[in-house]
Symmetry: C2
Subunit: 425 residues, 2 copies
């Protein structure tokens, strides 16, 4: 029997779990990704805050696919531009890839809710390059503040606003708080601790809305201990010319604004079909993760919208859903006669605010403080791909724990590039 051509868009947790678990005697598997590496979004904020280097949380897809469990899976580098639903083609900037079965596992990107002016000026944390950039900009502000005596310029340079009080917002605000508390006096003698302002802005009534009320309260307390100013019930109206304007008219100057307040599914052109992504740019799928209205097309992970009684607004956009959907889909595609509907087993959720500070919810259990922080580190360490990365991350975390600092405060900029370049593809 001829194998079916299975194309998977995206080499994240969702996509790789399909490739790993599917029956390779039935399917010929191609993984398409714009990056040649798998990345680990839960730790992007540590790249931005100089806690880890980008290579420690990235793993080359080709190398991953040489493992026995992926035997025969191929990697194609490419940025998916369009899907032709009738010709059954995935179009990248380089080629058209034919499929018999398509799995969309492309994840999400930032959502600025139409505020294009703000979009131009904020920094973001939805990819490794974005995190690298954020790191460089934060370090740039500290260096430039060290060089000027002008009070107004220093205030602008040393005010860091984080918009969005979800896990990413809380974690990067906590990391900036630690910078303020522990790193400044050792390495930036020209900057006083009280000159640095870290402001976390959240529109609703609490941080970490998807977690328990106790976690929200513990996170807010931990941030307060690190000198982070938390503003709840606060919406951001605009950010232009270095001025943040809040709903209600209050303004403040900040040269650095980090946006973590919204995500949407990665977009492609959909050709020869009337199907469009649903709210949040997510694809409406049935209980088998089949995209409604399209033949032989599935969506899993953050880009899938599977609404059921328990999750009427869709499942949370977290790694565990992606992993479990990937596994279930692989099983269903391998054994089409005994398909099982997807059911999410919530293993809990966690966020860290800094050294010895974290919150964990598992069912009705709540942890905070050092024990939660150890649990957070353990879970993230084992989830990283590759033994080298696990060792290097452990070395870095251990080093940082004892030195209250990191050896990675590096502005590794790309340099100036001449005219000819493959970079703009």
């Amino acid at each position: 029997m001829q194998k079916k051509r299975l194309v998977i868009i995206g080499g994240g947790f969702a996509g790789l779990n399909v490739a790993k678990n599917i029956d390779k005697t039935l399917y010929d598997v191609t993984v398409v990704d714009r990056h040649n590496y798998h990345s680990f979004p839960p730790l992007f904020y540590q790249v931005a805050s100089s806690g880890l280097e980008p290579a420690s949380i990235s793993f080359p897809l080709r190398r991953e696919l040489t493992r026995r469990c992926y035997r025969g899976c191929r990697y194609h580098m490419g940025d998916v531009r369009a899907i032709d639903a009738s010709a059954k083609l995935v179009r990248t900037q380089y080629e058209d890839i034919p499929y018999d079965v398509l799995v969309i596992a492309a994840g999400t990107t930032n959502n600025f809710f139409g505020n294009t002016e703000l979009e131009k000026h904020v920094y973001t944390l939805k990819s490794t390059p974005q995190a690298i950039r954020c790191r460089n900009e934060i370090l740039d502000r500290l260096e430039r503040a060290s060089l000027t005596a002008d009070a107004g310029a220093r205030r602008r340079l040393l005010t860091f606003a984080v918009i969005g009080g979800g896990p990413t917002g809380v974690e990067i605000a906590g990391a900036l708080g630690e910078l303020k508390r522990f790193v400044l006096k050792k390495e930036y003698p020209g900057i006083k601790e009280n000159e640095v302002k870290v402001i976390l802005i959240e529109g609703t009534d609490r941080l970490l809305r998807t977690m328990s009320a106790r976690s929200s309260a513990d996170a807010a307390k931990a941030l307060d201990q690190l000198g982070v100013e938390v503003r709840l019930h606060t919406m951001t109206k605009s950010y232009t010319k270095g001025i943040v304007e809040l709903e209600g008219g209050e303004t403040f100057a900040a040269d650095t604004v980090i946006w973590t307040a919204g995500v949407q599914g990665v977009a492609f052109d959909l050709e020869n079909t009337d199907v469009k992504p649903s709210f949040g740019g997510r694809f409406d799928v049935d209980e088998y993760n089949a995209v409604r209205g399209l033949d032989d097309v599935y969506a899993i992970g953050d880009i899938a919208l599977h609404m059921d009684e328990k999750y009427p607004k869709g499942h949370p956009q977290v790694a565990q859903v992606a992993i479990q959907q990937g596994r279930t889909l692989a099983r269903n595609l391998s054994r089409p006669d005994s398909r099982k509907p997807f059911e999410y087993h919530d293993k809990g959720s966690m966020a860290t605010i800094g050294r010895n500070r974290a919150v964990v919810d598992m069912g009705k259990m709540h942890l905070s403080g050092r024990l939660a922080w150890m649990a957070w580190m353990f879970i993230h360490l084992i989830s990283l791909l590759g033994m080298r990365n696990k060792i290097v991350v452990l070395v870095n975390w251990t080093y940082s724990y004892f030195t209250f600092s990191s050896g990675l405060r590096l502005m590794l900029r790309p340099g100036k590039y001449p005219v000819r370049s493959y970079w703009n593809d």
Copy 2:
């Protein structure tokens, strides 16, 4: 007594050795560097060939300067644009820094000998950003070749020319040879080993001209074993539209050309003086490293040109000269009544071609093969700044040794940047 203001341009081996060894009761020390980190040029080629991540060979200058031996030294981020010799000012893009004593330790950059067309199209290895870029471009070629069946396109994509047979040229050519020999068949099943061409082009009659004839011969043999084509007595005339033209008229197509054939001193404007850099953009200095014709200005390391009987064309531009000149200058500035002229103690030189392949010259002793390679690794490991970096590099080398590969084949690109940016400073 009022301390003198000592400004050091450059946080490399030369500059840091002045800062470390100078008497801080006599001098108030400022280190100026465009990068916020010390970098390690001997291993740039390993970044370019995905053997090490850039952070492993970089160390934040602020963190280094917190060490006891530098007590009181300050770091200023800045790209030095000009030196005003009469007002005694160093001008960066951010500020004018007054000095009583100035040490120029800015090192060298690429020299294209006026070939601006070639300059636009080649990749280079004289800084960390350049090495990162080179890595991304090499990986890009392998990915793109994997996607096309067009024979001509594959040949262009898979031909890598390295121009210049000094240590850097030999080392990057060797690393590309290892990629061809060991990595391809495991990770790039769509590319055959014999499709990849690595061509090392050298103008003179041997590789590694500054080393012994035995080292040159051993290096050529090791490169041959790795499938690298070595062309001696060959000058490159031009490189345009993907075509390399050699003197004599021979041409070949190559999408990737790496230029390691020339260096020159980093240039600044020199105001209110007639002094100009000498050949190779180096500053003509006396035996105390004082720049001839300028008051209270010294030059050390690669940018200094100190000609004496033993070195009529100046000292070799290597780390050991920089370190020794830095130490001697610090001593002379600390004890002006008992100055000693600089004398270079040559500790030998080495280059590596790949796994178990290296050459070492120490006086009349010559080593090659595995022992030389172990010596090479040991010397480079102990020369790296920071315990974290030493451990991480050792982990990577050990991992690569046993896997014949690396977990770092990552195209970490900077991403697309919006309009406002501090990057263009």
